[in-house]
Amino acid sequence: MSTLVQSPQTQQSKNYLNADHGWKSWLFTTDHKRIALLYLISITFFFFIGGFFAVMMRLELLTPRGDLVQADTYNKFFTMHGIMMIFFFLIPSIPATLGNFLIPIMIGARDLAFPKINLLSWYIYIVGGLFALGALLAGGVDTGWTFYTPFSTLYSNSYVMAAALGVFISGFSSILTGLNFVVTIHKMRAPGMTWGRMPLFVWSHYATAIIQILGTPVIAITILLVAAERVFHIGVFDPNVGGDPILFQHLFWFYSHPAVYIMILPGMGVISEVIPCFSRKGIFGYWAIALSSIGIAVLGFLVWGHHLFTTGQSMYAGFVFSALSFLVAVPSAIKVFNWIATMYKGSVSFETPMLYAFGFIGLFTIGGLTGLILATTAADIHVQDTYFVVAHFHYVMVGGMVMAYMGGLHFWWPKMTGRMYPEGWAKISALIVFVGFNLTFFPQFILGYLGMPRRYHAYAEEFQVYNVMSSAGASVLAVGYLLPMIYFIWSLKYGERAPANPWNAAGLEWMIPSPPPTFNFDTIPVVTWEAYNYHEPDAPEVEVGH
């Protein structure tokens, strides 16, 4: 281990942030850490655009009548919210920022296997984002983020083509990121960094990459067909002339359901890092967590039909997809139980990343369990297309992934920037996010169960009290997201300088200076220890390293 820790003099000197200056050194960089920051800035931009539409929707839904906007505009609000948040924030979120930054360091490599392709993926993402922004500025899209046919191909008068092209293009960025991760994890591991010694963060990204590689091309070709259909009106998805709109739904969800796991698996990876650190204890059930990531990736490809329970899929297919959807809950539950077992008898402390991890476990569990209600064909017919579904996937996506993303950002912020964030403010904002989130989305479970359909700008008067609660929660949530934005930027200049390992955490990334030097390691480390080698309080000292 001693070979890894650099002398104090080198720690103060060159790192990846001050190695080079000027905009060219950023826009033409091939350093995975700089590309991660480029992604961080871009996805934050899209997050706030998506957030703006969420705010507009919650404003409209304050009152039962449609008084702020008309139905057409409201359709565009929820569509743009979905497209921006899913394709341009959630899918790249943790993999492209934290994953990009950390995976090479965690496995003891100097960079990803293909640094130029990594930069290319960011440019592709930006081009895709510009198309989506163009669609937005030109007047928006009203198909919903799902682009269901034949509405999207025949009837919609909005800017479907531009938005669809944006999604199509940004998909290649996702594929290239996944490709880079798979090759890097296979071929770039340091000597001694066996598969069984890799941090679980890396395992979860490996599983994510599998989905990115095998799922994304299917939506690419689907969007291509939608675009061709929209231009030429041949009727591939038009039932009037023998086309099959259900085929579109199958192809769409073949990607878009696994994409849900692109959006949650990396979050699970973050939680698997944070919990052992703040429990001062090795992870419980390493292989169970590692393989359950792969299990989720594989099973995730077999459940897409549960989006088609009410849209003309055969009853027997419904049975099978229902059963398979229950199965995918098993690996998710394995993870939750193992995280809790990791905390058991650990010396748990409550730093900000840990608060987010707690939030993740609770909210993800609620999101996951309500998913089982939706996977039950009979129950699903009752709550299909209601706010129950909206609440369910926001508990997973926002309560799960965004919580994990925020937790991960706090956890590795000192490593990425070399500065500490203000712990007090961070704890307060973590609590605000938790309270605001539940206030926003829990009433939506009730609304959905009572029968309020999603995607309407007006509703029956008896639903108003829950909608007001939800809108109030959204404004609390907004504060919870703006605060970190402010203190993170503040910390860049005024934050305390971060030591190499502020959390006393295990893992190669904590053995190099904060911020890391451009090539991460002076000499490639030789790994002789297991992952999460935290010293347990009563356990005898175990010799690590050398």
């Binding site: 090479p104 490599a109 100097r110 960079d111 990803l112 296997a113 293909f114 640094p115 594929i175 490709l179 880079n180 798979v182 090759v183 890097t184 296979h186 071929k187 770039m188 590689i213 095998l214 799922g215 994304t216 091309p217 299917v218 690419a220 070709i221 689907t222 291509l224 067909l225 061709a228 231009v231 030429f232 009106h233 041949i234 009727g235 591939v236 002339v241 023998g242 086309g243 099959d244 085929l247 199958h250 192809l251 073949f254 090539f519 002076d522 000499t523 490639i524």
Partner: protein
């Protein structure tokens, strides 16, 4: 540092973040294989659509097969298989460090690819003349099958079109390789780009090997 001398000892092809040339070679090869997995899923979506419509409208699809010229399609298949052979021979020349045969085989592969694309263009033109281009020029001789056959021909153009796009990209890569080979960039120790381009080229060929029977042969009753 030790790593600096490491890099210099292995020549300019070894990029800074790799420790060994073998590691770089294996990464590039694995990267191409993973990319091909993506490509399989990309074409897989089209194959799925084709299978579903073929099962739904077997008569319309069978009626359309008489407008596919098996002789031309078969000849084109042979051309493509030959191009795979020249590509494989090119990879072998690269591995042996033979610069001149490498350039010749790469150019032969390019020419065969161009022949394929030319013939494909002729077929497209023929479809245009026969009013078999959905969305632009469509007038199907059997009216009751018109709608369903249109879906088939649409899939025909999308599938062969995407295949042709991959061929054109391949031609571009081959041209780059020819220039690199001409400048003496490849040695018996460094030929990775040639090898992974070979993988790509063979994959594009294999896609055609599936497209040909699906579009030309299934449901064919008589040779025209």
């Amino acid at each position: 540092m030790a790593t600096e001398t490491h890099v210099i000892a292995h020549g300019p092809e070894l990029r800074h973040h790799f420790e060994q040339p073998e590691q770089q070679y294996e990464s590039a090869t694995l990267g191409m294989w993973v990319f091909l997995a993506t490509e399989i899923m990309f074409f897989g979506g089209l194959f799925a659509a084709y299978t579903i419509y073929r099962t739904a409208y077997p008569d319309a699809f069978a009626s359309s097969s008489q407008y596919m010229d098996v002789i031309i399609g078969g000849f084109n298949t042979a051309v493509l298989i030959c191009s795979s052979l020249t590509m494989a021979l090119g990879v072998r020349s690269a591995q042996l460090g033979q610069r001149k045969p490498l350039i010749l085989f790469l150019i032969a592969t390019m020419l065969l690819g161009c022949v394929f694309l030319g013939i494909k263009g002729y077929e497209y033109h023929h479809k245009w003349v026969e009013h078999l281009v959905p969305g632009f020029n469509w007038n199907y001789p059997i009216p009751q099958y018109s709608h369903h056959a249109q879906i088939l021909f649409f899939l025909y153009f999308v599938m062969t079109g995407m295949h042709a796009v991959h061929m054109i990209i391949g031609e571009g890569i081959l041209l780059t390789l020819v220039v690199m080979a001409y400048r003496g960039r490849f040695t018996e120790r460094y030929f990775t780009p040639v090898e992974i381009t070979g993988l790509y080229w063979h994959f594009v060929d294999i896609v055609w090997i599936f497209l040909f029977p699906m579009l030309y042969l299934i449901g064919k009753h008589k040779l025209l």
